[in-house]
Amino acid sequence: MAYRTTIKAGGSGADYWLDLWRNRQLLWILSKRDISVRYKQTLLGIAWSVVRPLMTMLVMATVFSLVAKLPPDPNIPYPLMILGGLTIWTFFSGAFSQVSNSIVLNSNLVSKVYFPRLLMPLSAVAVGFIDFLISLVLFIGLSFFYNYLPSPNIIFLPFFLVLTFISALGFGLFFSVINVRFRDIAQLIPFIVQVGMYACPIAYSTRLVRDSLPQYYKYYIMNPAVGIIDGFKWCLLGDNSYFDPNSLYSTLIVSIIALFLSVMYFRKQENTFVDYI
């Protein structure tokens, strides 16, 4: 017969990825569910996804540019620089926190029906991606406003998107597993995202870190998010935007290792979720 399943301790084996592939429609449907449910019974609806980055950008621009008088990268309007960083950060932080909470949020499914559990974190990326797209449209609108021409570097954009996806999934999967047993994770995630927003070059340029704290610069660019954010800004804003290709080393190494290990960890633990959730 076409379908033969063997159930034993230690979980499913070789047919796992095939199973995942067979269930690709479910992945799509779960993503669609998360997106369409997001703003149900809200007055502003999808406008929230516009208001949030816009307000954040305005506050940051006021504080860092007008009050603190930090210089932007040469010839780049400060608000545009912020929105560029914010756009990719929206994707990373949204995907990362949704992935981390994905198993717990779907606990009703975990305890009642089988499908490859990896579908839940994968589908959770969708919400962050939609927010990203909206923010990107906003960015394009703002560049028209400043008459800022797009740079040819934009062809590298997909590369940075994939990298963001890999790192958000890599870190998020770890947390999603731990979150099943220790709900502390649900408290920790917003905190990480909040701290990350200031630890990463969103409201300021990495150039300032290099110039004012040269002795710490090499540690600063070890943060894997720095490479992603600067790279992404470089794609949108062109060569004027500060981007140190050296910062990509840590991004590539850390996120690929994180993804590899966390997928292994996830696979090892996924059949025990139901006993602890």
Binding site: M1, Y3, G10, K40, K112, Y114, F115
Partner: protein
Amino acid sequence: MHVITAENISKKYIIDHQGTRKPTSFRDAVSDTFDQFFTKKDKDAASNRKEEFWALKDVSFSIDQGDRIGIVGHNGAGKSTLLKILSRITDPTTGQVTIDGRVASLLEVGTGFHPELTGRENIFLNGAILGMNKSEIKQSFDAIVDFAGVEKFLDTPVKRYSSGMYVRLGFAIAAHLEPEIMIIDEVLAVGDAEFQKKCLGKMRDVSESGRTLLFVSHNLTAIQALCNKSFYFEKGKLLDQGETSHIVTTYLSRVSQKKLERQWDDVNTAPGNDQIRVKSFKLVPDYLDDLMHIDVRTSMEIQFEFWNMIDDAQLNLSLHLYSYTGECIFNVGTASQSFAKGLISGTLEIPGHFLNDGSYMVSIMVVKDTSSVIYNMEEALTFDVEDYREGVTWYGKWPGYIRPQLNFSLNQAESVVNG
């Protein structure tokens, strides 16, 4: 041909007794945490709190294609654990199961329904979760809507559905799955009579088309109507399997053999304290005719004896009856009376046609001077009441903790003769 083969499957759970005593206030919670913090080094204490529990132990069986298997057993017998393993929701601790064919399991009606989504959206969502692909869902969409009878509410969020509509829609989707093997857990417990008839009919169709069915229910009537073979589980073991009629008889007779009597002869080791020791605790059913099991109609007596070791004590007794899930069904108390040292006995009559089917626990509390509890015996006795019905075609779990026979009648107050 075997479609399911299970070899020595077992499932172990670790019960953490730490969780059994719940702190009742924030202060308790804080002091508990401190206590635990300082006693952490005491490894013995920690391991004592954890206990192994085998929900299933060395279960082996094989199921042929087209079999309709009923699974019976009491709460905690391992039925649900077995279904969870067969549906791949949890792994067995040891052993192996081989399944040939696509499995759909219905452990709950409307799994994954999202309250904010409309009926239409939920059909696609739930169908996909149960393993249907989009074209299959589209194909059976009209049939599902028709079966559930929700045409008018297709574009209403399901959170606005009545519970009946919700359940009907959930079952309708599951009923249109076309798996080779279908696993169903107690879904008939919901819905009205007409809908249940539809469901049973649908399940019969499923089995007649050569597909295999596994069905768990507390309702023996439904199992007898639907299943050709049955498994009987008790305490995690597969005790017996065979023709359904045979298994149902075994099951009912096993129930009556359950120990309904507890006795302690030595005053010093009997449960209790230096004021009260319990001597015996019995449930004496007044079996009907030649039946040897307690059903809804059976009247019974709870008889007990205990030693009183206080001189000239003013005592009264309080007896609680709990459902299996721990809700108190009733509490009866005796009047306060004075007793000398020695043996005290008591009886409580429970009439027939009073308790509903289910599992029950009895606990007693000995009270001194009408105010201070001097001894509390929890779970002094447990017993089961089986379902019995007459003249109804409804197979669902009869709702409620009690099923009293009250005077309840209908009259034709006026009739209209068609002219």
